[in-house]
C-alpha cells in the first residue's frame, strides 16, 4: 500500500487503527439504527400492530427522522444542576459504550464484506491488513473492564440532575449493574476455561468442531440473563423504562444528550448480541457461501447470528413484564451467582470430556 512506503511503522499502525476504529464505530452506529428500527417493528408485530410505516418504505427512514428531531430540540439543563457535568456525562457514556466497538470484530465484518469487489477493484484486498481487532490478546477482558465504568457514570448521571428521584434511580441502576457483573464475569471465566485465551478470534477458532453452546448450555443461559440485565433490557429494565414512581436516571435529559444516552444503551445491547454469537454460537463459522460471495461468508454468518439474538432480545422484551428491584437483586444473589459457580465446575468437567474427544485442540 502507498502508506507502507511513506510512513514509518508506528505511524502506519496508528493509521491502520484509526481507520479500523472509525469503520467499527460507524458500523456500530448503523447497526444501532437497525436495532432500534427492528425493535419498533418486531415488538409492534408481536403486539399485532405495525410499527412505523409512513416515513420511507416500511418506515425505514423513521429513525432518521427521529434522530433529526432529537438533535434539533432545545437542550434543557436544570437550573441548580452542575452544568458542565450535566452536559459532559452523556458524552462520556457514549464514549465508554462505543469504545469497545473496536475490540469486537466489526472491522473484520466490513473489510471482508468489501472483498466481494475484489474482481473489480484488486486493491481492495489490502483492506484485510487493516483488521485491528485480532490484535487484542485480552479482548474479552478489556470489554468488561471498559463496561465496568458504566455503573459509575450512570450513578453520576442520576446525581448531577439535581432531582431527588433521579438520584435514587441512579443508585438503583448502579446497584443492578454492579451486582449483575459478578455472575457475568464468572460465566466469562468459564468460557475462558474452555479456550485458555481471552482473544475473541481464538475463541471462535476453537469452536470449529463444536459450538460452545453444546459444551456449556448453562453458561449460555446465564450469559443471556446477565447480559440482559447489564444492558438494562426487560425484564430488568426498571431503572430505565418509566420506573413507575421513582423516576429513571435519565429523566432530566432532553435532546441531544438523550440521543447519546439512548445510543449508548442500544450499542451495549448490540454488543451483547454479538458477544453471544461469538462466545457460544461459533461467531463467523459456518458453511462457505458459493461463488464470488466466498469472502463474505464469515461476516454473513456472524451478522446473521447477531441479528437472530437481537430479535430474541426484542421478543423477550415483548413477552415478559418487569421485575421489581428487590426481586431483581435477590434473583442475582440467590440464584444467578450460585448457578454461575456450579456452571464453572460443570465447564471444567466438560472441558476434559471434550478434550479427550478431540473436539477442542
Amino acid at each position: 500500500m502507498i502508506t507502507e512506503l511513506y510512513l514509518p511503522p508506528f505511524l502506519y499502525d496508528i493509521f491502520k487503527s484509526a481507520v479500523a476504529t472509525i469503520i467499527a464505530i460507524v458500523f456500530t452506529l448503523l447497526n444501532v439504527i437497525i436495532f432500534i428500527y427492528a425493535e419498533r417493528k418486531v415488538w409492534a408485530r408481536s403486539m399485532q400492530r405495525m410499527g412505523p410505516t409512513y416515513v420511507g418504505k416500511w418506515g425505514s427512514l423513521q429513525l432518521i427522522a427521529d434522530l433529526i428531531k432529537l438533535l434539533s430540540k432545545e437542550i434543557i439543563v436544570p437550573s441548580k444542576a452542575n452544568r458542565v457535568a450535566f452536559l459532559l456525562l452523556p458524552i462520556l457514556v457514549a464514549i465508554v459504550s462505543l469504545m469497545i466497538a473496536i475490540i469486537l470484530p466489526y472491522d473484520y465484518v466490513v473489510f471482508y464484506t468489501l472483498q466481494i469487489f475484489q474482481p473489480l477493484i484488486p486493491s481492495v484486498s489490502y483492506l484485510t491488513k487493516f483488521v485491528v481487532s485480532n490484535s487484542f490478546t485480552a479482548g474479552l477482558f478489556i470489554i468488561y473492564v471498559v463496561l465496568g465504568l458504566n455503573p459509575v457514570l450512570i450513578l453520576l448521571t442520576g446525581w448531577v440532575s439535581n432531582n431527588k428521584y433521579t438520584v435514587v434511580g441512579g443508585f438503583r441502576a448502579a446497584a443492578q449493574l454492579l451486582s449483575f457483573e459478578i455472575p457475568l464475569l464468572v460465566v466469562i471465566a468459564s468460557v475462558v476455561v474452555l479456550t485458555n485465551s481471552l482473544n475473541l478470534y481464538d475463541i471462535v477458532n476453537m469452536q470449529q468442531k463444536v459450538w460452545f453452546v453444546i459444551v456449556a448450555p448453562l453458561a449460555f443461559i446465564l450469559f443471556l440473563i446477565t447480559t440482559l440485565a447489564e444492558g438494562e433490557r426487560t425484564p430488568f429494565d426498571i431503572p430505565d423504562a418509566e420506573s413507575e414512581i421513582i423516576a429513571g436516571w435519565n429523566t432530566e435529559y432532553s435532546a441531544a444528550p438523550y440521543a447519546l444516552l439512548l445510543m449508548g444503551m442500544y450499542a451495549r445491547a448490540f454488543f451483547s448480541a454479538t458477544l453471544i454469537a461469538i462466545l457460544f454460537f461459533g461467531g463467523w463459522l459456518g458453511p462457505t457461501l458459493p461463488g464470488f460471495l466466498a469472502p463474505f461468508s464469515g461476516p454473513f454468518w456472524l451478522m446473521l447470528k447477531t441479528y437472530f439474538f437481537m430479535i430474541l432480545f426484542i421478543v423477550i422484551r415483548a413477552a415478559f413484564p418487569r421485575y421489581r428491584i428487590d426481586q431483581l437483586l435477590s434473583l442475582n444473589w440467590t440464584k444467578l451467582l450460585p448457578l454461575s459457580i456450579v456452571n464453572l465446575i460443570l465447564v471444567v468437567i466438560a472441558k476434559y470430556i471434550v478434550l479427550s474427544l478431540g473436539l477442542i485442540s
Binding site: 408485530r45 399485532q48 405495525m50 415483548a318
Partner: protein, 143 residues
C-alpha cells in the same frame, strides 16, 4: 425427597413458563395483523351506527318533538325559508351526544343518523348545522 421434588417442580415451571411466554410473543410475528392503516383504509360502519344527524325536509312536519326530547338541548326549531315545513330543526353538532332519541321519537322519521363522522371547521359555526346545512350533511364531511 419431596423437597427435591418441589425444587424440581419450581425449576421446571420457570423454564417452561419462560419458553411458552416467549413462544406466545413470537407466534404473533408471523400471523396477519388485524390493524389497518387509518388514513388510507377505514373500517365500515354498521347499519345502525349513529353518526351525524340529517333532516329530510320532505318528511319533516315541524312538530318540534326532536327539540323537546333532546337531552342536551342541541336542536332548535327555526322558521324554514323554503316554507314547507313551517319550522325545521337546526342542530348543534358540538353538543350532540349521538344518543338517537330524536330519531326514535320523530313521528314521520324525518331526522336520521348518517355515517358522517369527520366534520371539521375553524369556527364554532362550522359545526352548527343551520337550516341550509342540516338537509345535506354528507357535503360537510371532510375528505
Amino acid at each position: 425427597m419431596s423437597r427435591v421434588r418441589e425444587i424440581f417442580n419450581a425449576v421446571y415451571r420457570i423454564i417452561y413458563g419462560s419458553l411458552v411466554a416467549t413462544y406466545a410473543a413470537t407466534k404473533y410475528l408471523f400471523l396477519r395483523r388485524p390493524t389497518i392503516e387509518y388514513p388510507t383504509q377505514t373500517i365500515q360502519f354498521t347499519e345502525r351506527y349513529r353518526g351525524a344527524l340529517e333532516v329530510d325536509d320532505n318528511l319533516c312536519v315541524g312538530c318540534g318533538i326532536c327539540a323537546k326530547v333532546c337531552p342536551n338541548t342541541c336542536i332548535f326549531m327555526v322558521p324554514y325559508e323554503r316554507g314547507n315545513p313551517a319550522m325545521i330543526p337546526e342542530i348543534d353538532l358540538q353538543h350532540c351526544m349521538y344518543c338517537g332519541l330524536c330519531v326514535d321519537y320523530c313521528p314521520p322519521g324525518a331526522i336520521y343518523h348518517t355515517h358522517v363522522v369527520k366534520i371539521v371547521g375553524f369556527k364554532r359555526s362550522d359545526l352548527y348545522l343551520s337550516q341550509e346545512k342540516v338537509t345535506n350533511v354528507q357535503e360537510l364531511e371532510y375528505k
